[in-house]
Assembly symmetry: C2
DNA sequence: TTGTAAGCGTTATCAG
DNA sequence: CTGATAACGCTTACAA
């Protein structure tokens, strides 16, 4: 049905080889050039990328694999990745593994079978052998958002430690001493890092840790909702609560609304990600904002470098700074 | 580098054809089966989909093209599309055209060149010749969210007319007579439909239309913000405002917050999409909820039907019902 | 059940 | 500058 080089050759009276050369930027006589262009237009010829990829072993396509398409943090990153890649002639195949390691494996396999030239992914974590396998096939991989042990590849992440440090410090300098944290699931990289910042700032200000103030959620709306309630029902509740991702922040605010808790009078709150949401709630929420555009662009550029053969050997870690947006959700406590 | 059928053949002592047959579910002697499975495992063989697609003219891949990846309405639809397709062995290539018709054309071309078996897309509108071209190449296309004139393909949309009708009716039965609408951009399908519902319910309740209450936004946060302000600064402002998509609803709420407008005392509000946002604001927002899961699943199933050759001839329109979520953002006006 | 061989649409080598 | 031809990895008659 679709026209092939053969058809163009017939139509012009030239050989297949000549057409191919023209398509790939080679030199052809001007009169032939014109003939070819005409034929391509009238036949609506388009290169068959399957055949080309089969031959050249390059598809000019990169795979992007994230945890969820319904998470605006990830989709914003993708958007800026695409933005950069497109300028260099690369297209992207986007996959969503629904935070499921098995699906992640299957999708990675899919990308490999589609012969993508490189991959940018948010790894679920817990297992890395499938990633290593892809790496072994000489497909460069750039990890974003989460770092993985036991694997050698470029990583682009937020400086989660200092993000949490800065957020909790905002509480401390306003007089808060009992600060709750709604952390992510145990063993997840970002959870550990954000917790590290929480602990470190407590140390630096010589504030003792209370294990009861540290709660592990699941990075979803439900756990944010539930844990906020739990913290507030403690005998000695925190005066400030730091929520460590967007979904849980949503949940926490819903709980605050449902329980008619006044912010910041009854409790102070700092959330994570999504500046728009911060402006939609009242009072406006203080949040930690991750550099989504920066993460996307950096990841794309790092991959492009690998793709262009600059195999600088050692993989690098790019640790991007977050920003602390101060709004009205944190109260200043006057010390007795 | 990567193992091919040839390698598996060598490793087992069998022929290429036999390996191929096994891979595709043919019958092989049990002892050979075992040999092949072993070889595949030890060589980490994976079918080269490029070669397979070149030969079979099927890639078991469908393309999904949307306006923006940063729009949770679209990404939620995609998510459910993928969910269905995956069960039938299809993978998806997701593209984002940033609401730009030219990029839409380029991405559609990309999908065609990747030899996808079918396409599900949210058309930008305004031009359809590129879509027709793809259709001419015998690639079935399912349109979602927006219907297009002059083109023959399956469409899955929300019942936008009655969505708007129901929303505005909520105002009316609570005594409102001056109801503002923040509509989308002119000439966009969904804009026209939602406006039609607005007009129709006014007719049915014999309420005169005031052109000043009808404002065209741009389906983005900025226009929602701006227009809410404009409506409220009228000499005779509306008592209720209906915002017709998610982004503009966000903007409208931000404006309400910035201007310290009390909802629903000073103005009543009904928004669009995203049930989570509705719970995050205070008071909880009444919204029109589109059946994202339903749209995705329906689109996927319709495409699957086309793909399986059930070319039932005439394209169908699937018009899915929305749901009206009543919360506390609409005030009841006691008639004098 | 298994093997041989042609062909899918390109690119790339090499001769003319 | 142009053309003939082999090869990419796979599927699929057809023959054994």
């Amino acid at each position: 049905m679709a026209a092939t080089i053969k058809d163009v050759a017939k139509h012009t009276g030239l050989s297949i080889a000549t057409i191919s050369k023209y398509i790939n930027g080679g030199n052809v006589l001007d009169k032939n050039k014109k003939k070819i262009e005409d034929a391509i237009k009238t036949l609506d010829f388009r290169v068959n990328e399957l055949a080309r990829g089969l031959k050249t072993n390059r598809t000019m396509t990169v795979g992007v694999l994230i945890l969820s398409l319904e998470n605006i943090f990830f989709t914003s990153i993708i958007s800026s990745v695409e933005n950069v890649l497109l300028q260099y002639g690369y297209s992207t195949i986007i996959c969503d593994c629904r935070s499921d390691l098995e699906i992640e494996k299957a999708k990675l396999d899919f990308l490999v079978s589609k012969k993508v030239d490189g991959i940018i992914m948010v790894p679920h974590g817990g297992d890395v052998v499938h990633i290593k396998k892809a790496l072994d096939k000489n497909i460069p991989i750039v990890l974003i958002d989460r770092m993985l042990k036991n694997i050698e590849c470029d990583v682009v992440i937020s400086d989660n430690i200092n993000a949490a440090y800065d957020a909790v410090e905002q509480f401390i300098i306003r007089g808060h001493r009992r600060i709750g944290i709604i952390a992510g699931p145990k063993k997840i990289y970002t959870t550990e890092e954000r917790l590290k910042g929480y602990v470190r700032v407590h140390e630096d200000y010589a504030i003792g840790l209370d294990g009861n103030l540290i709660r592990y959620g699941n990075y979803d709306v439900e756990s944010g909702y539930r844990i906020l309630g739990e913290l507030m029902e403690m005998d000695n509740p925190p005066t400030g609560i730091f929520v460590t991702n967007y979904e849980m922040t949503l949940g926490a605010i819903m709980a605050v609304n449902d329980k008619n808790i006044i912010i910041p009078d009854e409790v102070s709150l700092i959330g994570f990600d999504n500046i728009q949401m911060a402006r939609v709630v009242k009072p406006p929420l203080s949040i930690v904002e991750q550099p989504v555009k920066g993460i996307g662009e950096t990841a794309a550029n790092v991959l492009l470098k690998r793709l262009s053969g600059e195999n600088g050997g050692i993989p690098s870690i790019y640790r991007l700074k977050t920003e602390m947006l101060i709004k009205d959700s944190v109260k200043t406590i006057i010390n007795q």
